[in-house]
């Protein structure tokens, strides 16, 4: 039998329902997996006591015939960007030292209400700013997949701890947040499924804000079906977030297994990059063939402003971040570094509390919003954003979904791309456009590169059409039949020094 923490959410749910095992047994197995997987540095805080309490409560509900649904009793990990009542919440930053919220984010509260069991808070890039999980104050996360010669690789970012935990077999699912690709790119790097819903589908209330017009919560799981199940327990209108959409939660699993016969799949020609590895391009072609083989029609489309999405993002997101992060002033929570005057204290606290990447982005944001530069940078970027969204709207007049690669490469070694911020930003070149347009998108593990490392394919759908997105993703998943596993788990036999 598959080890407990390596079960899918759907399979674990069936096992719980059939009484094959209890939530407590499942949770204990995950807690042990967390302990033996600590080398990955996937968690900032483990919460085994809370997990066991919730697991026992779940078993009691089930014994009473009051099980809450498919997430009841399922152990999950929570990115440490979600505020959790009474549990340290760090955002991966020194500046939030000791911050223990008195409230629970809406998404984690929804999951709690669905019966999901919180195992702990996962590591991330500081304030979710990064694509390699190397900017965390709590140290880099290791990808469970190893590079040539056993080299440690990045898990992607910013939801790198969540992705590593799921890929490394520590838990069946995790939640992350995605601002420009922070769920989808790590999912691709770690060989799992990562999904960003439509902007407004999940409440942002209680999520430490990075860029408010882009941030969305979403699931990281091993299967497309699991992502649909988990999103069902996360989504929903919330009066506490004024950008939360007043739309009923759909049955996201409704189209799973229905196939893609007759579906129109757009292939945007602008997603071919100079210098893109041949394997990424080949996998993309393979993805088209897989969908065509199941009766879909692939149609060439054009999204002419694609190349401007990333530079526009690097104005809009830092601008919003500079404003959102103004609240970290040493007064109300987190780190305080004393100073002789109020300004002195602010500057000392923020100088010490923010890491290099966060400092860079806050300064860029401050610059592009400052007097005399606002029109040239910020306003121009928001106009370009309108054009990017318009490209998608026009493409979706012809097609149901778009198929692209998720990332321009597989995972790279920890320490690479560190001296050139722009080279690091290019990781998100394929995921950022959908973020700028607020569209739902998913990365599905689809193949391996020449070094045996996972590569994902990326699907984008119309606003609030997650059902079609999951339907296409499950067809892709079925055709790809991706079943490769990383060799990093201590319990799996794997040669080499470790």
């Amino acid at each position: 039998m598959t080890a407990f923490p390596e079960l899918s959410i759907a399979a674990a749910g069936k096992g719980l329902e059939a009484g094959d095992f209890t939530a407590e047994e499942l949770t204990r197995a995950c807690i042990e997996a967390l302990e033996s997987g600590r080398d990955l540095n996937a968690f900032i805080t483990e919460t085994p006591d809370i997990a066991l309490d919730r697991a026992k409560a779940s078993d009691a509900r089930r014994a009473d015939g009051r099980a809450a649904g498919p997430m009841d009793g399922i152990p999950i990990a929570i990115k440490d960007l979600f505020c959790t009542e009474g549990v340290l919440t760090t955002a991966g930053s020194h500046i939030l030292d000791g911050f223990t919220p008195a409230y629970e984010s809406t998404v984690s509260a929804n999951l709690k209400d669905s019966g999901a069991v919180m195992l702990g808070k996962t590591n991330l890039d500081e304030f979710a700013m990064g694509s390699a999980n190397v900017t965390s104050y709590y140290g880099p996360v290791k990808n469970p997949w190893k590079g040539p010669g056993g080299k440690d690789l990045v898990p992607g970012g910013s939801s790198g701890g969540s992705a590593a935990a799921v890929a490394g077999g520590l838990c069946p699912g995790a939640i992350g947040t995605d601002t420009g690709g922070s769920i989808r790119q790590p999912a691709s790097f770690c060989g799992i499924v990562g999904m960003k819903p439509t902007y407004g589908r999940c409440s942002r209330w209680g999520i430490v804000a990075f860029a408010s017009s882009l941030d969305q919560a979403g699931p990281l799981t091993r299967t497309v079906e699991d992502a649909a199940i988990m999103l069902g327990a996360m989504a929903g209108h919330d009066a506490k977030d004024s950008t939360s959409a007043p739309i009923d939660v759909a049955d996201f699993s409704a189209g799973l297994g229905e196939g893609v016969k007759g579906m129109k799949v757009g292939i945007p020609k602008e997603y071919t990059l100079d210098g893109m590895p041949a394997e990424v391009e080949a996998l993309w072609r393979q993805g088209m063939d897989w969908l065509k083989g199941q009766g879909a029609e692939c149609i060439d489309v054009s999204l002419p402003h694609t190349k401007y999405a990333l530079p526009a993002y690097y104005i809009v997101a830092p601008a919003e971040a500079s404003s959102n992060l103004a609240r970290y002033d040493g007064v109300r929570y987190g780190l305080r570094v004393e100073g002789s005057t109020l300004d002195d204290m602010y500057e000392a606290t923020r100088g010490e509390g923010f890491g290099d990447e966060v400092r860079r982005r806050v300064l860029i944001g401050t610059y592009v919003l400052s007097a005399g530069y606002y029109d040239a940078y910020y306003r121009q970027a928001q106009k370009v954003r309108t054009l990017i969204a318009r490209d998608f709207t026009e493409a979706f007049e012809q097609v149901d979904v778009l198929l692209t690669p998720t990332a321009p490469s597989a995972a790279f070694a920890i320490g690479e791309k560190m001296d050139d911020p722009v080279a690091m930003y290019l990781n998100d070149v394929f995921t950022v456009p959908a973020s700028m347009a607020g569209l739902p998108a998913i990365s599905v593990p689809a193949g391996l590169d020449g070094d045996g490392l996972p590569l994902g394919l990326h699907l984008i759908a119309k606003p609030f059409d997650e059902v079609t997105l999951f339907r296409a993703a499950s067809a892709l998943e079925q055709a790809a039949g991706f079943d490769a596993k990383p060799g990093a788990r201590p319990s799996t036999p794997q040669g080499g020094a470790s």
């Binding site: 109020l342 300064l363 954003r385």
Partner: protein
């Protein structure tokens, strides 16, 4: 546009982030690179294009303007450095203060 040391010093003050003098040159180089790269947006003809103000095309609901929460001063102060209790002692949720260095002589 290339950002010089003085510009970095100025925006660092606007952002209230202390940057050590010996880090200014490095930051000026990095930020100039990033700004130089985003300036490719100037190629895009945006004549007559409205800047995006909301990514989703919908009417967001508005809540009633009424008090829905409150009386949680202790929760609010719980994470502060050196908070002051309300004068007259602890009264549960009656008050208390954040503290900062003296601003008015």
């Amino acid at each position: 546009m290339s950002l010089d040391k003085d510009t970095i010093r100025k925006i660092a003050f606007l952002a209230r982030i202390r940057v050590p003098e010996d880090a200014l040159d490095g930051l000026a180089g990095e930020l100039s690179n990033i700004i130089g790269w985003v300036e490719q947006l100037n190629e895009v003809d945006t004549e007559g294009v409205e800047p995006m103000t909301s990514v989703a095309d919908m009417d967001w609901p508005r809540r009633d303007d009424e008090i829905t929460d409150g009386g949680r001063a202790q929760d609010i102060l719980a994470n502060a450095t050196d908070p002051e209790p309300a004068p007259g002692g602890e009264d549960g949720n009656g008050g208390g203060f954040f503290t900062v260095p003296k601003v008015v002589e």
